[in-house]
Amino acid sequence: MRQAGIYSGILSHRTGPHSLPLSRIKKIMRHSGSDSKAMMIAGEAPLVFSKACEIFIQELTARAYEITVLGRRRTLQKDDIATAITVTDLFDFLLQVVPESADAGDGAAPAAGGRPIDDACELLL
């Protein structure tokens, strides 16, 4: 029952089978709150998070995949995500999550045929 298609996730309005578990989201929300204040969370709030997370993952995956395609590979790799994060301003908050950005230490020697990150910049920005 696999639905192929890159944008099937974005255009559909499913929330059922693939929605993230609300209890876990709630745990993460509480965990992220500052130590002094206990956050009270309305019942429906985790649901909004669940959908937002889904869209976020879809977007991050799509952008990372574009990097994969540029590298002419068929396996989405960690570096692809790292590159996508680096070239997208919106994902700046994720720079601390990736262990080493794809750009690190590449300043001196450009690879033959151009670096994927440069192509990504042109493509995504």
């Binding site: 696999r2 639905q3 192929a4 890159i6 099937s8 996730g9 974005i10 309005h13 929330t15 089978p17 693939h18 929605s19 993230l20 578990p21 876990r24 989201i25 745990k27 993460i28 929300m29 965990h31 992220s32 709150g33 500052s34 204040k37 956050m39 009270m40 969370i41 309305a42 429906e44 709030a45 649901l47 909004v48 998070f49 959908k51 937002a52 997370c53 889904e54 869209i55 976020f56 993952i57 879809q58 991050l60 995956t61 799509a62 995949y65 994969t68 068929r74 396996t75 989405l76 790799q77 960690k78 692809d80 995500i81 994060i85 301003d89 919106l90 908050f93 994720l94 999550v97 990736v98």
Partner: protein, 161 residues
């Protein structure tokens, strides 16, 4: 107290199920594209970080409005503030749809009549009356019968006329 806090908040507690994440990821990709294992882990981490970010901002929005509880509206506002305004429409649509779906479903065990058709509800009502009558008849006898006799005699009067 602090070491206990750290133990309680282990990575397992605050991550998302990989299977669900994997499904979301796979649907975005052509069927022949593979996703490395550490890539999935990284995406999970990114998602958790996203929740952290939006949570914190939602909390701020909530505080600014002098409210004590983070409501969906605060989360939507936070998304906008953080630059994820494009998400709002779809997120809100999903939220509204879920609200409508939960309104329809019988929650809290109340006999709202939505599950049954009118005939079924009427039949159910008759059944409950019959049960109650049976209970009454078992306890106190001869109560009902005088009524029935009166009704029947009235009927006889009517017919005569």
């Amino acid at each position: 107290m602090e070491p206990m806090d750290i133990v309680g908040k282990s990575k397992e507690d605050v991550s998302l199920p990989k299977a669900t994440m994997f499904k979301i990821i796979k649907e975005m990709l052509p069927p022949d594209v593979r996703v490395a294992r550490d890539t999935q882990d990284l995406l999970v981490d990114c998602c958790v970080e996203f929740i952290n970010l939006v949570s914190s901002e939602s909390n701020e929005v909530c505080n600014r409005e002098d409210k004590r509880t983070i409501a969906p509206e605060h989360v939507l506002k936070a998304l906008e503030v953080l630059g994820f305004g494009d998400y709002i429409e779809e997120v809100y649509a999903a939220y509204e749809q879920h609200r409508l779906e939960t309104l329809d479903s019988p929650k809290g065990g109340r006999f709202s009549g939505i599950e049954m058709t009118e005939e079924e509800a009427a039949a159910e009502q008759q059944r409950m009356f019959a049960e109650a009558r049976a209970r009454m008849n078992n306890g106190v006898t001869l109560q009902k019968q005088p009524e029935l006799d009166q009704v029947e005699s009235r009927k006889a009067d009517n017919e005569e006329i």
